[in-house]
Protein backbone atom coordinates (compact mmCIF):
# COMPACT_ATOMS: atom_id res chain seq x y z
CA UNK A 1 0.00 0.00 0.00
CA UNK A 2 1.24 3.42 -0.85
CA UNK A 3 1.89 5.93 1.90
CA UNK A 4 -0.50 8.47 0.39
CA UNK A 5 -3.82 8.38 -1.45
CA UNK A 6 -3.95 9.11 -5.19
CA UNK A 7 -5.56 12.44 -4.33
CA UNK A 8 -2.68 13.45 -2.06
CA UNK A 9 -0.14 12.45 -4.69
CA UNK A 10 -2.02 14.34 -7.37
CA UNK A 11 -2.04 17.56 -5.33
CA UNK A 12 1.57 16.99 -4.33
CA UNK A 13 2.75 16.39 -7.90
CA UNK A 14 0.57 19.09 -9.41
CA UNK A 15 -0.03 21.61 -6.67
CA UNK A 16 -2.76 24.17 -7.44
CA UNK A 17 -2.32 27.88 -6.77
CA UNK A 18 1.38 27.85 -5.95
CA UNK A 19 2.98 31.26 -5.74
CA UNK A 20 2.78 34.72 -4.27
CA UNK A 21 0.21 37.50 -4.56
CA UNK A 22 2.28 40.67 -4.51
CA UNK A 23 -0.48 43.02 -3.37
CA UNK A 24 -2.35 40.52 -1.22
CA UNK A 25 -5.12 41.72 1.08
CA UNK A 26 -4.25 39.13 3.70
CA UNK A 27 -1.21 36.93 4.32
CA UNK A 28 -0.99 34.12 6.87
CA UNK A 29 2.08 32.13 7.79
CA UNK A 30 2.16 29.23 10.26
CA UNK A 31 4.68 26.59 11.32
CA UNK A 32 8.43 27.05 11.65
CA UNK A 33 11.59 25.69 10.07
CA UNK A 34 12.68 23.81 13.19
CA UNK A 35 9.56 21.63 13.06
CA UNK A 36 10.11 21.14 9.35
CA UNK A 37 7.01 22.78 7.90
CA UNK A 38 5.89 26.32 7.09
CA UNK A 39 2.75 27.27 5.18
CA UNK A 40 2.05 30.71 3.81
CA UNK A 41 -1.30 31.68 2.31
CA UNK A 42 -1.91 34.86 0.28
CA UNK A 43 -5.50 36.11 -0.19
CA UNK A 44 -7.09 38.58 -2.54
CA UNK A 45 -10.45 39.66 -1.11
CA UNK A 46 -13.29 41.64 -2.67
CA UNK A 47 -16.77 42.07 -1.18
CA UNK A 48 -15.98 39.58 1.58
CA UNK A 49 -15.13 36.98 -1.02
CA UNK A 50 -11.83 35.22 -1.74
CA UNK A 51 -11.18 36.24 -5.35
CA UNK A 52 -7.67 34.81 -5.51
CA UNK A 53 -5.48 32.65 -3.32
CA UNK A 54 -1.90 31.42 -3.57
CA UNK A 55 0.35 29.41 -1.29
CA UNK A 56 3.95 28.65 -0.56
CA UNK A 57 4.90 25.63 1.54
CA UNK A 58 8.08 24.26 3.02
CA UNK A 59 7.30 20.72 4.12
CA UNK A 60 6.60 17.13 3.30
CA UNK A 61 4.36 15.70 0.59
CA UNK A 62 1.22 15.88 2.68
CA UNK A 63 1.96 19.48 3.74
CA UNK A 64 2.19 20.55 0.11
CA UNK A 65 -0.94 18.57 -0.81
CA UNK A 66 -2.91 19.95 2.16
CA UNK A 67 -2.03 23.54 1.24
CA UNK A 68 -2.96 22.94 -2.39
CA UNK A 69 -6.29 21.39 -1.43
CA UNK A 70 -7.08 24.14 1.08
CA UNK A 71 -6.53 26.85 -1.57
CA UNK A 72 -8.87 25.02 -3.95
CA UNK A 73 -11.52 24.73 -1.26
CA UNK A 74 -11.61 28.46 -0.45
CA UNK A 75 -11.09 29.90 -3.94
CA UNK A 76 -14.12 32.04 -4.87
CA UNK A 77 -15.79 31.42 -1.52
CA UNK A 78 -17.15 33.98 0.96
CA UNK A 79 -14.82 34.70 3.89
CA UNK A 80 -17.29 33.05 6.26
CA UNK A 81 -16.81 29.79 4.37
CA UNK A 82 -13.05 30.17 4.26
CA UNK A 83 -13.06 30.63 8.03
CA UNK A 84 -15.22 27.56 8.44
CA UNK A 85 -12.66 25.36 6.65
CA UNK A 86 -11.59 22.62 9.04
CA UNK A 87 -8.63 20.28 8.95
CA UNK A 88 -11.09 17.37 8.82
CA UNK A 89 -12.61 18.78 5.64
CA UNK A 90 -9.16 19.12 4.07
CA UNK A 91 -8.25 15.58 5.12
CA UNK A 92 -11.48 14.16 3.74
CA UNK A 93 -11.08 16.00 0.47
CA UNK A 94 -7.65 14.38 0.16
CA UNK A 95 -9.17 10.92 0.72
CA UNK A 96 -7.43 10.75 4.08
CA UNK A 97 -3.93 11.25 5.47
CA UNK A 98 -1.75 8.87 7.49
CA UNK A 99 -2.26 9.45 11.24
CA UNK A 100 1.18 10.99 11.74
CA UNK A 101 0.48 13.46 8.90
CA UNK A 102 -2.81 14.86 10.18
CA UNK A 103 -0.98 17.89 11.56
CA UNK A 104 -0.36 18.97 7.96
CA UNK A 105 -4.10 19.51 7.47
CA UNK A 106 -4.21 21.40 10.78
CA UNK A 107 -1.51 23.72 9.48
CA UNK A 108 -3.54 24.34 6.32
CA UNK A 109 -6.60 25.31 8.38
CA UNK A 110 -4.48 27.57 10.58
CA UNK A 111 -2.77 29.22 7.62
CA UNK A 112 -6.11 30.16 6.04
CA UNK A 113 -7.34 31.52 9.37
CA UNK A 114 -4.17 33.53 9.88
CA UNK A 115 -4.54 35.08 6.42
CA UNK A 116 -8.13 36.12 7.11
CA UNK A 117 -7.15 37.55 10.49
CA UNK A 118 -4.41 39.54 8.78
CA UNK A 119 -7.01 40.92 6.38
CA UNK A 120 -9.26 41.93 9.30
CA UNK A 121 -6.36 43.53 11.15
CA UNK A 122 -5.22 45.52 8.13
CA UNK A 123 -8.71 46.86 7.51
CA UNK A 124 -9.73 47.48 11.11
CA UNK A 125 -12.55 44.96 10.82
CA UNK A 126 -13.80 43.85 14.22
CA UNK A 127 -13.78 40.13 15.06
CA UNK A 128 -14.07 37.89 18.05
CA UNK A 129 -10.46 37.02 19.12
CA UNK A 130 -11.83 33.69 20.36
CA UNK A 131 -12.29 32.71 16.71
CA UNK A 132 -8.53 33.04 16.20
CA UNK A 133 -6.72 31.04 18.87
CA UNK A 134 -2.95 31.40 18.94
CA UNK A 135 -1.52 28.92 16.48
CA UNK A 136 0.35 26.04 17.97
CA UNK A 137 3.01 23.85 16.52
CA UNK A 138 0.52 21.33 15.24
CA UNK A 139 2.66 18.29 15.92
CA UNK A 140 3.65 19.30 19.41
CA UNK A 141 7.34 19.99 18.92
CA UNK A 142 8.74 21.81 21.90
CA UNK A 143 10.13 24.81 20.11
Amino acid sequence: MALYSEKVMDHFRHPRNVGVIENADGVGEVGNPVCGDIMKIYLKIENDTVTDVKFETFGCGSAIASSSMATEMIMGKPLSEALALTNQAVTEALDGLPAHKLHCSVLAEEAVRAAVKDYYDRNGIAYDPADFPAESCAHGCEV
Binding site: F12, I38, C60, A63
Partner: protein, 398 residues
Protein backbone atom coordinates in the same frame (compact mmCIF):
# COMPACT_ATOMS: atom_id res chain seq x y z
CA UNK B 1 12.02 4.81 -17.05
CA UNK B 2 15.26 3.38 -15.74
CA UNK B 3 15.31 2.90 -11.99
CA UNK B 4 18.40 4.00 -10.12
CA UNK B 5 18.66 2.30 -6.75
CA UNK B 6 20.47 4.73 -4.45
CA UNK B 7 19.61 3.20 -1.10
CA UNK B 8 22.15 0.43 -0.65
CA UNK B 9 22.66 1.43 2.99
CA UNK B 10 19.02 0.49 3.62
CA UNK B 11 19.39 -2.86 1.93
CA UNK B 12 21.04 -4.40 -1.11
CA UNK B 13 19.72 -6.61 -3.90
CA UNK B 14 20.36 -10.29 -3.14
CA UNK B 15 23.19 -11.71 -5.24
CA UNK B 16 22.51 -14.56 -7.65
CA UNK B 17 25.16 -16.63 -5.91
CA UNK B 18 23.39 -16.21 -2.58
CA UNK B 19 20.01 -17.06 -4.10
CA UNK B 20 21.42 -20.22 -5.69
CA UNK B 21 22.96 -21.32 -2.42
CA UNK B 22 19.76 -20.68 -0.51
CA UNK B 23 17.59 -22.54 -2.99
CA UNK B 24 20.05 -25.42 -3.04
CA UNK B 25 19.96 -25.62 0.76
CA UNK B 26 16.17 -25.47 0.90
CA UNK B 27 15.87 -28.22 -1.71
CA UNK B 28 18.64 -30.53 -0.70
CA UNK B 29 19.42 -29.89 2.93
CA UNK B 30 16.11 -29.67 4.72
CA UNK B 31 17.22 -31.52 7.84
CA UNK B 32 17.43 -30.08 11.32
CA UNK B 33 21.10 -29.55 12.18
CA UNK B 34 20.43 -30.93 15.65
CA UNK B 35 19.23 -34.30 14.33
CA UNK B 36 21.69 -37.14 14.47
CA UNK B 37 20.73 -38.98 11.27
CA UNK B 38 22.40 -38.22 7.99
CA UNK B 39 20.13 -35.53 6.58
CA UNK B 40 20.37 -33.69 9.90
CA UNK B 41 24.12 -33.96 9.89
CA UNK B 42 24.26 -32.71 6.30
CA UNK B 43 22.45 -29.58 7.43
CA UNK B 44 24.91 -29.28 10.29
CA UNK B 45 27.75 -29.49 7.81
CA UNK B 46 26.25 -26.73 5.67
CA UNK B 47 25.87 -24.53 8.72
CA UNK B 48 29.45 -25.12 9.84
CA UNK B 49 30.76 -24.53 6.33
CA UNK B 50 28.97 -21.18 6.28
CA UNK B 51 30.32 -20.33 9.72
CA UNK B 52 33.86 -21.14 8.69
CA UNK B 53 33.60 -19.07 5.51
CA UNK B 54 32.24 -16.08 7.38
CA UNK B 55 34.87 -16.39 10.10
CA UNK B 56 37.61 -16.45 7.46
CA UNK B 57 36.39 -13.16 5.97
CA UNK B 58 36.99 -11.43 9.30
CA UNK B 59 40.09 -13.30 10.44
CA UNK B 60 38.07 -15.02 13.17
CA UNK B 61 37.78 -18.62 14.34
CA UNK B 62 34.54 -20.41 13.37
CA UNK B 63 33.61 -20.97 17.01
CA UNK B 64 33.73 -17.20 17.56
CA UNK B 65 30.77 -16.68 15.18
CA UNK B 66 27.13 -17.17 16.21
CA UNK B 67 24.23 -16.73 13.84
CA UNK B 68 21.54 -14.21 14.77
CA UNK B 69 18.44 -12.76 13.14
CA UNK B 70 20.47 -9.77 11.98
CA UNK B 71 22.45 -6.74 13.09
CA UNK B 72 19.98 -5.45 15.68
CA UNK B 73 19.89 -8.72 17.57
CA UNK B 74 23.67 -8.98 17.43
CA UNK B 75 24.08 -5.44 18.80
CA UNK B 76 21.59 -6.14 21.58
CA UNK B 77 23.31 -9.35 22.57
CA UNK B 78 26.80 -7.85 22.41
CA UNK B 79 25.85 -5.00 24.74
CA UNK B 80 23.82 -7.17 27.09
CA UNK B 81 26.65 -9.71 27.34
CA UNK B 82 29.36 -7.14 28.01
CA UNK B 83 27.14 -5.41 30.56
CA UNK B 84 26.52 -8.71 32.38
CA UNK B 85 30.26 -9.44 32.46
CA UNK B 86 30.94 -5.93 33.75
CA UNK B 87 28.26 -6.04 36.41
CA UNK B 88 29.78 -9.22 37.80
CA UNK B 89 32.94 -7.26 38.57
CA UNK B 90 31.06 -4.18 39.74
CA UNK B 91 31.93 -2.31 36.53
CA UNK B 92 28.89 -0.49 35.23
CA UNK B 93 30.16 2.26 32.94
CA UNK B 94 29.87 2.08 29.14
CA UNK B 95 31.37 4.39 26.52
CA UNK B 96 29.74 4.85 23.13
CA UNK B 97 29.00 7.63 20.64
CA UNK B 98 26.04 9.92 20.07
CA UNK B 99 25.41 8.69 16.53
CA UNK B 100 25.23 4.93 16.95
CA UNK B 101 22.39 2.97 15.41
CA UNK B 102 19.28 2.79 17.60
CA UNK B 103 19.94 -0.93 18.13
CA UNK B 104 22.88 0.26 20.24
CA UNK B 105 21.49 3.53 21.62
CA UNK B 106 18.17 2.07 22.74
CA UNK B 107 19.88 -0.92 24.38
CA UNK B 108 22.17 1.52 26.20
CA UNK B 109 19.13 3.47 27.35
CA UNK B 110 17.62 0.26 28.72
CA UNK B 111 20.91 -0.51 30.50
CA UNK B 112 20.89 2.98 32.02
CA UNK B 113 17.52 2.22 33.55
CA UNK B 114 19.14 -0.88 35.01
CA UNK B 115 21.82 1.16 36.74
CA UNK B 116 24.57 1.48 34.14
CA UNK B 117 26.23 4.80 33.42
CA UNK B 118 26.71 5.67 29.78
CA UNK B 119 29.07 8.24 28.28
CA UNK B 120 28.19 9.18 24.70
CA UNK B 121 31.16 10.76 22.96
CA UNK B 122 30.82 13.70 20.62
CA UNK B 123 31.42 12.82 16.97
CA UNK B 124 32.26 16.37 15.84
CA UNK B 125 31.22 18.03 12.63
CA UNK B 126 33.15 15.51 10.54
CA UNK B 127 31.36 12.56 12.12
CA UNK B 128 34.46 10.85 13.51
CA UNK B 129 35.35 10.11 17.10
CA UNK B 130 39.03 9.82 18.04
CA UNK B 131 40.83 7.10 19.95
CA UNK B 132 42.22 9.79 22.26
CA UNK B 133 38.69 10.80 23.22
CA UNK B 134 37.84 7.19 23.95
CA UNK B 135 40.99 6.87 26.09
CA UNK B 136 40.14 10.05 27.98
CA UNK B 137 36.64 8.79 28.78
CA UNK B 138 37.84 5.46 30.24
CA UNK B 139 37.24 4.97 33.95
CA UNK B 140 38.25 2.20 36.35
CA UNK B 141 34.64 0.98 36.21
CA UNK B 142 34.32 1.03 32.40
CA UNK B 143 33.27 -2.41 31.17
CA UNK B 144 32.63 -1.73 27.49
CA UNK B 145 33.40 0.60 24.60
CA UNK B 146 30.95 0.40 21.68
CA UNK B 147 31.80 2.41 18.56
CA UNK B 148 30.33 1.69 15.14
CA UNK B 149 32.70 0.80 12.32
CA UNK B 150 31.01 3.13 9.81
CA UNK B 151 27.94 5.28 10.24
CA UNK B 152 24.77 4.23 8.46
CA UNK B 153 23.60 7.71 7.47
CA UNK B 154 26.70 9.76 6.76
CA UNK B 155 29.08 6.87 6.05
CA UNK B 156 31.98 8.12 8.15
CA UNK B 157 34.56 5.48 9.07
CA UNK B 158 35.72 5.39 12.67
CA UNK B 159 39.33 4.71 13.74
CA UNK B 160 38.42 1.22 14.88
CA UNK B 161 41.93 -0.16 14.99
CA UNK B 162 43.18 2.69 17.20
CA UNK B 163 40.17 2.41 19.48
CA UNK B 164 40.66 -1.34 19.68
CA UNK B 165 44.27 -0.80 20.77
CA UNK B 166 43.20 1.68 23.46
CA UNK B 167 40.62 -0.78 24.80
CA UNK B 168 42.99 -3.71 24.77
CA UNK B 169 45.63 -1.77 26.71
CA UNK B 170 42.98 -0.80 29.27
CA UNK B 171 41.53 -4.31 29.48
CA UNK B 172 38.09 -3.07 28.45
CA UNK B 173 35.84 -4.97 26.01
CA UNK B 174 35.40 -3.37 22.59
CA UNK B 175 32.24 -3.88 20.52
CA UNK B 176 31.76 -2.51 17.03
CA UNK B 177 28.54 -2.36 15.05
CA UNK B 178 29.97 -3.27 11.65
CA UNK B 179 26.64 -3.56 9.84
CA UNK B 180 27.54 -0.92 7.24
CA UNK B 181 31.18 -1.92 6.98
CA UNK B 182 31.18 -5.72 6.67
CA UNK B 183 31.99 -6.80 3.15
CA UNK B 184 32.75 -3.23 2.08
CA UNK B 185 35.80 -2.46 4.25
CA UNK B 186 38.65 -4.72 5.28
CA UNK B 187 37.98 -6.10 8.76
CA UNK B 188 40.45 -8.16 10.78
CA UNK B 189 39.14 -8.76 14.28
CA UNK B 190 42.54 -9.85 15.56
CA UNK B 191 44.60 -6.96 14.27
CA UNK B 192 41.87 -4.49 15.23
CA UNK B 193 41.43 -5.90 18.73
CA UNK B 194 37.69 -6.27 18.27
CA UNK B 195 36.05 -8.33 21.02
CA UNK B 196 32.45 -8.18 19.80
CA UNK B 197 31.07 -7.31 16.37
CA UNK B 198 27.61 -7.17 14.82
CA UNK B 199 27.06 -7.93 11.12
CA UNK B 200 23.93 -8.11 8.96
CA UNK B 201 23.72 -10.14 5.74
CA UNK B 202 21.35 -7.98 3.72
CA UNK B 203 23.80 -5.07 3.63
CA UNK B 204 26.17 -7.06 1.42
CA UNK B 205 23.75 -8.79 -0.96
CA UNK B 206 22.76 -11.58 1.41
CA UNK B 207 19.23 -12.36 2.59
CA UNK B 208 17.32 -10.37 5.22
CA UNK B 209 16.70 -11.77 8.68
CA UNK B 210 20.16 -13.19 9.26
CA UNK B 211 23.39 -11.83 10.67
CA UNK B 212 26.19 -12.78 12.97
CA UNK B 213 27.62 -11.81 16.30
CA UNK B 214 31.35 -12.25 16.53
CA UNK B 215 32.55 -12.79 20.09
CA UNK B 216 36.24 -13.28 20.75
CA UNK B 217 37.04 -16.61 22.38
CA UNK B 218 36.72 -16.12 26.14
CA UNK B 219 34.04 -13.44 25.95
CA UNK B 220 31.03 -15.22 27.45
CA UNK B 221 27.77 -14.37 25.74
CA UNK B 222 24.44 -13.98 27.51
CA UNK B 223 21.64 -15.55 25.46
CA UNK B 224 18.73 -13.28 24.54
CA UNK B 225 16.68 -16.27 23.42
CA UNK B 226 16.45 -19.29 25.68
CA UNK B 227 15.16 -22.69 24.78
CA UNK B 228 17.78 -24.87 23.18
CA UNK B 229 21.43 -25.78 22.85
CA UNK B 230 21.86 -24.35 19.35
CA UNK B 231 24.82 -22.03 18.75
CA UNK B 232 26.52 -23.55 21.78
CA UNK B 233 23.68 -22.47 24.00
CA UNK B 234 24.04 -18.80 23.13
CA UNK B 235 21.11 -18.51 20.75
CA UNK B 236 18.24 -20.97 20.93
CA UNK B 237 16.07 -21.88 17.94
CA UNK B 238 16.54 -24.17 14.97
CA UNK B 239 19.19 -22.62 12.77
CA UNK B 240 18.21 -21.01 9.47
CA UNK B 241 20.58 -23.05 7.32
CA UNK B 242 19.62 -21.58 3.91
CA UNK B 243 19.98 -18.03 5.24
CA UNK B 244 23.37 -18.83 6.78
CA UNK B 245 24.55 -20.40 3.52
CA UNK B 246 23.24 -17.44 1.50
CA UNK B 247 24.95 -15.01 3.83
CA UNK B 248 28.27 -16.85 3.60
CA UNK B 249 28.10 -16.95 -0.20
CA UNK B 250 27.24 -13.25 -0.42
CA UNK B 251 29.97 -12.26 2.00
CA UNK B 252 32.62 -14.30 0.26
CA UNK B 253 31.67 -12.81 -3.09
CA UNK B 254 31.53 -9.24 -1.76
CA UNK B 255 34.87 -9.63 -0.01
CA UNK B 256 36.51 -11.09 -3.11
CA UNK B 257 35.46 -8.08 -5.16
CA UNK B 258 35.93 -5.60 -2.34
CA UNK B 259 38.89 -3.61 -3.61
CA UNK B 260 37.59 -3.47 -7.15
CA UNK B 261 34.12 -2.38 -6.03
CA UNK B 262 35.53 0.18 -3.61
CA UNK B 263 37.67 1.80 -6.32
CA UNK B 264 34.69 1.93 -8.70
CA UNK B 265 32.30 3.35 -6.10
CA UNK B 266 34.77 5.85 -4.69
CA UNK B 267 35.29 7.37 -8.12
CA UNK B 268 31.53 7.64 -8.73
CA UNK B 269 30.90 8.91 -5.21
CA UNK B 270 33.42 11.69 -5.63
CA UNK B 271 31.82 12.79 -8.92
CA UNK B 272 28.43 12.79 -7.27
CA UNK B 273 29.68 14.82 -4.30
CA UNK B 274 31.30 17.28 -6.66
CA UNK B 275 28.12 17.62 -8.72
CA UNK B 276 25.79 18.08 -5.75
CA UNK B 277 28.18 20.56 -4.15
CA UNK B 278 27.41 22.89 -7.05
CA UNK B 279 23.87 23.32 -5.69
CA UNK B 280 23.83 26.59 -3.74
CA UNK B 281 23.57 26.31 0.05
CA UNK B 282 24.13 22.58 0.06
CA UNK B 283 26.65 20.79 2.22
CA UNK B 284 28.09 17.30 2.42
CA UNK B 285 27.47 15.57 5.75
CA UNK B 286 30.47 13.87 7.30
CA UNK B 287 34.15 13.73 6.47
CA UNK B 288 34.98 14.18 2.79
CA UNK B 289 37.57 11.38 2.66
CA UNK B 290 37.03 8.98 5.54
CA UNK B 291 33.64 7.70 4.41
CA UNK B 292 32.23 4.53 2.91
CA UNK B 293 32.99 4.18 -0.81
CA UNK B 294 29.30 4.39 -1.77
CA UNK B 295 27.95 6.97 0.70
CA UNK B 296 26.86 10.49 -0.26
CA UNK B 297 24.88 12.48 2.31
CA UNK B 298 23.84 16.09 1.84
CA UNK B 299 21.76 18.76 3.53
CA UNK B 300 19.99 21.34 1.38
CA UNK B 301 18.76 24.55 2.97
CA UNK B 302 15.14 25.60 2.56
CA UNK B 303 13.53 22.27 1.65
CA UNK B 304 12.16 19.22 3.42
CA UNK B 305 13.48 15.72 2.76
CA UNK B 306 10.28 13.73 2.31
CA UNK B 307 8.98 15.82 -0.56
CA UNK B 308 12.45 15.56 -2.11
CA UNK B 309 12.31 11.74 -1.88
CA UNK B 310 8.81 11.52 -3.36
CA UNK B 311 9.76 13.62 -6.36
CA UNK B 312 12.98 11.67 -6.88
CA UNK B 313 10.96 8.45 -6.73
CA UNK B 314 8.76 9.86 -9.52
CA UNK B 315 11.97 10.26 -11.52
CA UNK B 316 13.08 6.68 -10.85
CA UNK B 317 15.57 7.40 -8.07
CA UNK B 318 15.29 5.49 -4.77
CA UNK B 319 16.93 7.42 -1.93
CA UNK B 320 16.45 8.17 1.76
CA UNK B 321 16.44 11.13 4.10
CA UNK B 322 16.93 11.88 7.78
CA UNK B 323 14.02 14.30 7.92
CA UNK B 324 11.46 13.91 10.70
CA UNK B 325 8.70 13.36 8.17
CA UNK B 326 10.37 10.29 6.72
CA UNK B 327 10.96 8.72 10.13
CA UNK B 328 7.48 9.23 11.53
CA UNK B 329 9.00 11.01 14.52
CA UNK B 330 9.09 14.68 15.46
CA UNK B 331 12.82 15.11 15.29
CA UNK B 332 15.14 14.76 12.35
CA UNK B 333 17.87 12.14 12.40
CA UNK B 334 19.92 11.96 15.61
CA UNK B 335 22.98 11.40 13.44
CA UNK B 336 22.62 14.76 11.69
CA UNK B 337 21.91 16.48 15.02
CA UNK B 338 25.00 14.76 16.49
CA UNK B 339 27.27 16.31 13.85
CA UNK B 340 25.79 19.70 14.71
CA UNK B 341 23.31 20.23 11.91
CA UNK B 342 20.49 22.48 13.16
CA UNK B 343 16.98 21.01 12.97
CA UNK B 344 15.89 23.20 10.06
CA UNK B 345 18.82 22.00 7.97
CA UNK B 346 18.60 18.36 9.06
CA UNK B 347 15.03 18.25 7.74
CA UNK B 348 16.45 18.87 4.27
CA UNK B 349 18.77 15.89 4.15
CA UNK B 350 19.31 13.36 1.40
CA UNK B 351 21.25 10.10 1.57
CA UNK B 352 22.35 8.43 -1.66
CA UNK B 353 24.16 5.09 -1.29
CA UNK B 354 25.57 3.70 -4.49
CA UNK B 355 25.76 0.13 -5.74
CA UNK B 356 28.29 -1.67 -7.90
CA UNK B 357 25.93 -1.60 -10.91
CA UNK B 358 26.12 2.21 -11.09
CA UNK B 359 27.97 3.92 -13.91
CA UNK B 360 28.88 7.48 -14.80
CA UNK B 361 25.56 8.07 -16.55
CA UNK B 362 23.70 7.21 -13.35
CA UNK B 363 25.77 9.79 -11.49
CA UNK B 364 24.97 12.46 -14.08
CA UNK B 365 21.26 11.58 -13.99
CA UNK B 366 21.15 11.81 -10.20
CA UNK B 367 23.00 15.15 -10.17
CA UNK B 368 20.60 16.54 -12.77
CA UNK B 369 17.43 15.28 -11.08
CA UNK B 370 18.42 16.23 -7.53
CA UNK B 371 19.45 19.72 -8.68
CA UNK B 372 16.14 20.12 -10.51
CA UNK B 373 13.97 18.88 -7.66
CA UNK B 374 15.80 20.98 -5.04
CA UNK B 375 15.33 24.10 -7.19
CA UNK B 376 11.65 23.29 -7.76
CA UNK B 377 10.92 22.75 -4.05
CA UNK B 378 12.85 25.87 -3.10
CA UNK B 379 10.72 27.76 -5.58
CA UNK B 380 7.61 27.05 -3.53
CA UNK B 381 9.23 27.25 -0.08
CA UNK B 382 8.50 30.32 2.08
CA UNK B 383 11.48 29.29 4.20
CA UNK B 384 13.75 29.52 1.14
CA UNK B 385 12.22 32.91 0.31
CA UNK B 386 13.10 34.10 3.82
CA UNK B 387 16.66 32.85 3.37
CA UNK B 388 17.12 34.55 0.01
CA UNK B 389 15.61 37.84 1.18
CA UNK B 390 17.74 37.87 4.32
CA UNK B 391 14.78 37.56 6.67
CA UNK B 392 16.38 34.43 8.11
CA UNK B 393 20.12 33.72 8.17
CA UNK B 394 21.72 31.03 6.02
CA UNK B 395 23.48 28.20 7.84
CA UNK B 396 25.80 27.19 4.99
CA UNK B 397 28.09 29.14 2.73
CA UNK B 398 26.81 29.56 -0.79
Amino acid sequence: MKRIYADNAATTPVSETAIREMVRCMREVYGNPSSLYEIGQQAKEELEKARAQIAACFGAQPREIIFTSGGSEADNQALRSAAALGARKGKKHIISTAFEHHAVLHTLRALQREGFEVTLLDVHENGIVTAEEVAAALRPDTCLVSVMFANNEIGTIQPVEEIGAVCRRAGVLFHTDAVQAAGHLAIDVGRMNIDLMAVSAHKFHGPKGVGILYARRGVALTPLIEGGAQERGKRAGTENVPAAAGMAAALRETCEKREETAAHLTALRDRLIEGLSRIPYAQLNGDRERRLPGNVSFCFEGIEGESLLLLLDDRGICASSGSACTSGSLDPSHVLLAIGRPHEVAHGSLRLTLGAEWDGDDVETVIREVSGVVAYLRGMSPFWRDLTTGKRPHVFEK
